[in-house]
Each structure stands twice: as structure tokens, then as C-alpha cells.
């Protein structure tokens, strides 16, 4: 993927600055927007904190570079990896080896004693202790030449040998004192240390760094979003907002009923010695577009509806005057849900549980939806409003009521249809896209974010505006 920030900077002379730049480059590669100003800030911040304290160093970097929770998550993932790798490659370059000293005492150690110490360190949550013990454990077991060479396997093997498991501990057979329970998070921390130390060993043995991989998709899947491209959807929609907002403003002529702006009139009257000779009117603020989005959430579009919901989610972020509806057999307004909930997962869940579209058959009934939509909402529709339908136009053989749809189209300023099916499949089977298409100001296939962007472009490119 070409970086939007131009070609990679030269690594430059070795040193902290070069390493930091490399780190920023890596973050960019993972999609974190790190600008030059962020990097400058980071350097400025590092002058203020001691770089020898790992926590301070990391926080100072994080606060200047990662500007959202998602960014912060990626930052944490990459920070450890990058600086570990940086340290190791430096060690290789200089031929530094820890040599044998680290294994000192490993023979003398009794397995039971080690086990006890590790258990204690984990329960106490002592980080430094855990790391030292992880090394000891590795050398104690690694000595036997059992290393499989696969780090993940070794970690689990050592953990099992040590008899460590999360949760309450089984009663020891000899009736000894009950062992304190081990916290899952603490155990994970210990495993991380093990993994880190094993990797260090491996690197030292082979004197090469394993190739750096981009973060696995699983690692970076954001906890709040089921779709990977939620951010992309948000980007496209915010673009759309700007375009829709500026579209059609210029045609508005002088209207009757301008209101006098008393304050400004008084101010202008200062120029004429307090006599209000020029009347000032309140400026005509461009009206925010009113948008109605109708989203099909039936089974025939299951795969697409997650995407659609994320589009809706993004739309709500950008537009204030947005009313959203979901429909299957009936239609139901879900504007409230989106306004009170930010977490995408929670929204999806609430819509499925209380959307009120749960119905008898589970099949979409477009005709009925139009009738209901027109019945409940049509009074609010005016030439300024834009209606966007997200659906596949599959009526399951029911009456499409295209003439009702035509009425909706007539009342609304603009009407767009986004269809999650490729154009090829339109009008095959029970799809009645053609019946609706001619009443739309535009009908587009839309199943990727690229299509969404395309839609935005076409809308902005001057599709005839109905008002």
C-alpha cells in the first residue's frame, strides 16, 4: 500500500530519533494517521520526560501520537513489538550476547521451588520478578533440548510443566495450605514474558530477526466494530455530508419574510449617528439537509445489513437532521437508538431486539413499507429532504406498489437507492428494481466502501436536483 506521506524516510544514522521515525512509519503502515506535527510533538515531549523510564516514555509517545482509543490500541500492540525488535537488532549488530550468565543457577534450582516462586510472583503481580523467573524457567526447561522451535508451543509446554492454570487452584494432595487463586490477566502477563524471552533466545541463536508481519487482522479488529471498514464508511459518509450540505444552496433566491436583525441594524446605525437608515436582515442560513434513510434488515440482505447499519451509524455521526428507519415487513423508526447509543455493537443488538419489525414471515414487503412510510411520515417530507433507501428490492412476490413509491419520490426533494446486489442480479427473480428505479434520482449498487464513495461522487457531480 503506498503511504500517503510519500516515500519512506531514510533510516538515517542509528539512534533514538531514527528508531522513533521508524516506529511512526510502522504505525502509518497500520493505518494510524501520524502527521509531521505529531512527530514533532513527540520529540518535544520526550525532551521533558526521562527516557529511561519505560512507562513515562510510552505515555509521552502515546499522548502525542495516538489520538483516539482505536489508535491507542494499535499503538500499544506495535510499541512493544517495535522496541523489542529494535533492541534485538541492535544487539545483533553489536554482537552483544548475554552468554551463559543467565543460565547460572538454573541447575541448582529445584523445580518445586521455582514453581512456588513463579506462582507467588504471578499472584503478587510483580512484573520484574515475573520476567526474571520466566528466564529461569526457560533455561531450566530449555536445557533439556525439548524446545520445539515454535514459540507458541513452547510457552504452553512450560506453562503446563509448571502446573499453572487460571482460576482457583486444585487442592494439593498432601493437604498442604490451599494455594491462592491465579488471576487470568496475571497469568497472561507471565505468558507474555515467556514468549518474549523465548523469542529473545531464538533471535540470539540464529542472529536474525524474524520478518516483521503486519498485525493480524484478528489483532486489530476493533472491539467496537464487527466490520473492518467501519472507519472507511465513516470517511465516505463525512465526505458525503459536506457535498450534500453545499448542494443546491445557490438556487435559493430572495424569499419573502426576511427578519430584521435588530442588533446588526443598531450597529450599522452607528455609522449614521444612531439613526437606523439601513435595515439589516438576518442572514439566510443554509438549511441543513434533512435526510431519511430506510434500511432493509431482512434475511435476504443479512450479509449486507451489517454494512448498511454501519453506514447508518456513520450517517448519524455526521448529520443532525437524520431520521432512520429499518424495515422488513413493516417499518420502524430507529432514530432514537442511534442518538442514544454510540457503540456500534450495542446499536445492532438493540435494533434486532426492539426494532419492532419482527414479523410473521420474515420476508420483506416493500409495498407495505411504502404505504406505511407514506402514511406516517409523508407530511414531513418536503423538497429539501433527501430519501435514501438501502435495500435489494426483493419483494418475495408481493405487490411492489410502485405508484406509492412514486408519491414518496414526488414529495421528497431527492431519492436515492443503494442496492447491495451487483447490478447484474437486478430484476432477476423477485427483484423489482426496475419498477422503482425510474422514480429514483439515482440507483446504485453498493456493497463495498468504494461503491459508497462512488455514490458520494456521483451525488456531488450534479445529478439533477428535483427542487
Amino acid at each position: 500500500m503506498p503511504s500517503p506521506y510519500g516515500p519512506k524516510a531514510e533510516a538515517g544514522p542509528p539512534g533514538l530519533a531514527a528508531k522513533l521515525l521508524g516506529f511512526c512509519e510502522e504505525l502509518r503502515g497500520e493505518g494510524v494517521a501520524v502527521g509531521t506535527s505529531e512527530i514533532l510533538d513527540a520529540f518535544a515531549a520526550l525532551e521533558e520526560v526521562p527516557w529511561t523510564s519505560r512507562e513515562d516514555f510510552r505515555e509521552a509517545l502515546a499522548t502525542t501520537i495516538a489520538k483516539s482509543q482505536e489508535d491507542r490500541r494499535l499503538f500499544e500492540l506495535l510499541f512493544d513489538r517495535w522496541f523489542f525488535r529494535a533492541a534485538e537488532s541492535e544487539a545483533i549488530a553489536r554482537g552483544v550476547e548475554e552468554g551463559e550468565q543467565r543460565h547460572e543457577g538454573a541447575e541448582r534450582l529445584d523445580l518445586d521451588e521455582l514453581q512456588e516462586q513463579i506462582r507467588q510472583a504471578i499472584v503478587d503481580g510483580n512484573d520484574g520478578e515475573m520476567r526474571d523467573l520466566a528466564r529461569l524457567a526457560i533455561s531450566a526447561f530449555g536445557r533439556q533440548g525439548e524446545g520445539s522451535g515454535v514459540v507458541g508451543v513452547d510457552v504452553q509446554r512450560i506453562r503446563r510443566t509448571l502446573g499453572l492454570s487460571a482460576g482457583t487452584q486444585p487442592q494439593a494432595e498432601d493437604g498442604a495450605a490451599e494455594l491462592p487463586p491465579i488471576d487470568r490477566a496475571q497469568l497472561n502477563a507471565f505468558e507474555r514474558h515467556l514468549r518474549r524471552e523465548l523469542e529473545r533466545d531464538l533471535i540470539e541463536r540464529t542472529s536474525t530477526l524474524p520478518p516483521s508481519r503486519p498485525l493480524a487482522e484478528l489483532d486489530r479488529a476493533l472491539p467496537t466494530s464487527p466490520t473492518q471498514d467501519l472507519a472507511a464508511v465513516h470517511r465516505a459518509v463525512s465526505q458525503m455530508k459536506r457535498r450534500l450540505a453545499t448542494l443546491g444552496n445557490e438556487q435559493r433566491g430572495r424569499r419573502r419574510g426576511a427578519t430584521v436583525d435588530v442588533r446588526r441594524t443598531m450597529r450599522t446605525s452607528l455609522e449614521t449617528g444612531g439613526v437606523p437608515m439601513h435595515i439589516r436582515y438576518r442572514p439566510k442560513r443554509p438549511r441543513r439537509p434533512e435526510i431519511y434513510v430506510l434500511c432493509d434488515v431482512s434475511t435476504s440482505v443479512t450479509s449486507a445489513s451489517v454494512f448498511f447499519l454501519s453506514v447508518l451509524h456513520a450517517l448519524h455521526d455526521s448529520f443532525r437532521k437524520l431520521r432512520s428507519f429499518v424495515f422488513i415487513e413493516r417499518i420502524s423508526e430507529v432514530t432514537d437508538v442511534f442518538e442514544h447509543e454510540r457503540d456500534f455493537r450495542a446499536i445492532a443488538q438493540r435494533i434486532s431486539s426492539e426494532g419492532g419489525v419482527a414479523d410473521v414471515s420474515g420476508y420483506t414487503d416493500y409495498g407495505r413499507v411504502w404505504l406505511e412510510f407514506l402514511g406516517t411520515i409523508s407530511d414531513d417530507l418536503d423538497p429539501r429532504s433527501t430519501v435514501i433507501v438501502l435495500g435489494d428490492a426483493r419483494t418475495n412476490g408481493r405487490e411492489p406498489h410502485a405508484e406509492v413509491f412514486a408519491q414518496v419520490s414526488e414529495r421528497a426533494g431527492r431519492l436515492f437507492w443503494l442496492n447491495p446486489e451487483p447490478k447484474l442480479y437486478w430484476n432477476y427473480g423477485d427483484s423489482v428494481m426496475a419498477a422503482y428505479e425510474r422514480y429514483c434520482d439515482g440507483a446504485f449498487e453498493c456493497w463495498t466502501t468504494r461503491h459508497l464513495e462512488n455514490f458520494v461522487n456521483i451525488v456531488a457531480g450534479g445529478v439533477p436536483v428535483a427542487d
Binding site: A62, K67, S68
Partner: protein, 281 residues
């Protein structure tokens, strides 16, 4: 900062330190009630600076945030100085004297350094954010009639956001970022005991544990730190010695404030607590 009644965790302390040293605004995000606004107040107490607060809301415009001309006074000036030439008056009426300072202007123009709190920035429109950019990066405000007003002293700027919408990149770029989470058990205990010193340690621990249990549920509005402090005080007033089911049911409304939440909490947390040993008075 502990001296002024605010126990900051490591990142918060470091970021506040950096904000002062680098002269950069801090954008604080986090769930409601983790002490974002309190951080700014504590900073102002700790540094001995005055706190200038701008509460944001939808439709906030620059006349209310930056400055406004005091046109009544201008009008009076013109009428009072009838004999003077127009040119005198003309130069005169757009002077600082006729400027009504609003919070942002006030923070900039103050001779003493201040702490400026821009609260709930996510409630405003994007246009307002854009207006803030000049202020945040250069600490100056441009008034067409007067020219630029630059800050004489460097204010500490704290912006808070409840994350109800995505803030623009441009704004984020100019800020340090701090994400506040609910504190660790130990820290929350310290906080509670700082504000309710009479509470015994055992009870405080028990209480914080229960609060954390409640937060783990899927609630409409999880209890904030302020609410756990309130609860601690309530427990003191009730003279409770342990949190059993009865005490909990009586005082639950302090930390849970939604009808549906109350049911959920009573069902999930209430039953885990012990039956009262003896009836409470």
C-alpha cells in the same frame, strides 16, 4: 495533585505535566463520570491558577464563546461625544473598552495565567471546532476591527469530550490525547476515602467492589466516581457497617439511575450480597 483532592493515575499526571511544559492543549476523553472535568479543576487548584470554563452546547457561537461588541456602550459613546469629529469617534468605538469578553477571550487576555476548560466539545458543531483551531495552536484570536489578540500568558487548555461524535483530525492534531478510564480498585478506594475519610477501610473496599460489579453489568448509565463518593457518604449517614442486601436495596438509587437498570442491578448484584444479619434500624 493529591493535595487538592484529586488522585490522578500515572498517564493523567504525566499528560498534565507535559501540557504545562509543552504548552499544548489536552483533549480528555472517556466515559461519563470518570473525572474529566474534575481534572481541570484540580489542575487549576494545584497550579493556583484561575479556572475559566466554557461549557459547550449545540448552537454555541463565537459571540458567546469569544467576544462581542458592546453596542449599547458604543451607541452611548457616539451620542455623548456629539461635538467631536466623526473620525475621532470612528477610531474610538472599536477599542477594547467596548469589547465584551467571553470565556475564550478572557482566558487569552488575562494578565495572570489561567486554566481554560472547554467542556464537552463534542456537543458543539464542527464549525465551532474550526474556530477553535487558531486559539489552540497559536493562542491568539483575530478580531477584524482590532487585529490579533495574542495571549500574554500561556493558559493550560483542557478540552473534554464524551465521545458522542468523532472530533475532527485538525483539532486532534493540535492536542495531546488522554483517555481516562474508571480507576483501578485500589485507586478508587483511595479516592473514596479521600472524600469520605470517616469510612472504614473494609467498608470502602466492599463498596468499591460492589460498584465495580455494577459497572460490569450492561447498564444504560454505569455509576460514576462522583456517585460512588455520594454512596460512601450515604453509607456513613446510614451508619452501615457492611453492605448487605437490605442496605444495598435501600441505597441503590444513589448509584443506579434508570428504571430498567435498577431492576437489572437488583437481580444480578443484590442476590450476591449476604442476607442482613439483623434487621437494620
Amino acid at each position: 495533585m493529591a493535595g487538592v483532592g484529586y488522585l490522578a493515575d500515572e498517564p493523567a499526571a504525566l499528560v498534565s505535566f507535559l501540557a504545562q511544559r509543552l504548552g499544548k492543549p489536552v483533549l480528555v476523553e472517556g466515559p461519563a463520570g470518570v473525572g474529566k472535568t474534575e481534572l481541570a479543576k484540580a489542575l487549576s487548584r494545584a497550579t493556583g491558577r484561575e479556572l475559566v470554563r466554557l461549557q459547550c452546547y449545540e448552537g454555541l457561537d463565537e459571540a458567546k464563546a469569544l467576544y462581542e461588541w458592546n453596542y449599547r456602550k458604543q451607541l452611548l459613546r457616539i451620542q455623548a461625544g456629539g461635538e467631536d469629529g466623526w473620525s475621532d469617534v470612528h477610531d474610538d468605538i472599536f477599542a477594547k473598552e467596548f469589547l465584551l469578553e467571553r470565556p475564550l477571550m478572557q482566558a487569552i487576555a488575562s494578565p495572570e495565567p489561567v486554566v481554560l476548560l472547554i467542556d464537552e466539545i463534542d456537543k458543539t458543531d464542527q464549525e465551532f471546532e474550526a474556530m477553535l483551531l487558531e486559539l489552540l495552536s497559536d493562542f491568539q484570536i483575530t478580531i477584524p476591527e482590532l487585529g490579533q489578540v495574542s495571549a500574554t500568558t500561556m493558559p493550560i487548555v483542557i478540552l473534554t469530550s464524551n465521545n458522542s461524535r468523532e472530533l475532527t483530525e485538525a483539532l486532534k492534531r493540535r492536542c495531546l490525547y488522554l483517555w481516562l478510564e474508571y480507576p483501578e480498585l485500589e485507586r478508587e478506594m483511595e479516592i473514596v476515602r479521600l472524600h469520605a475519610p470517616e469510612l472504614s477501610e473494609a467498608l470502602a473496599r466492599r463498596m468499591v467492589e460492589v460498584v465495580r460489579m455494577v459497572r460490569d453489568l450492561d447498564l444504560k448509565k454505569p455509576p460514576s466516581i462522583a456517585e460512588s463518593i455520594d454512596w460512601a457518604r450515604t453509607l456513613l449517614l446510614m451508619g452501615a457497617e457492611d453492605i448487605d442486601r437490605e442496605t444495598f436495596n435501600q441505597s441503590m438509587s444513589i448509584i443506579v439511575k434508570h428504571r430498567t437498570d435498577i431492576d437489572l442491578v437488583a437481580e444480578r448484584v443484590g442476590v450476591k450480597l449476604a442476607e442482613p444479619v439483623r434487621p437494620q434500624g
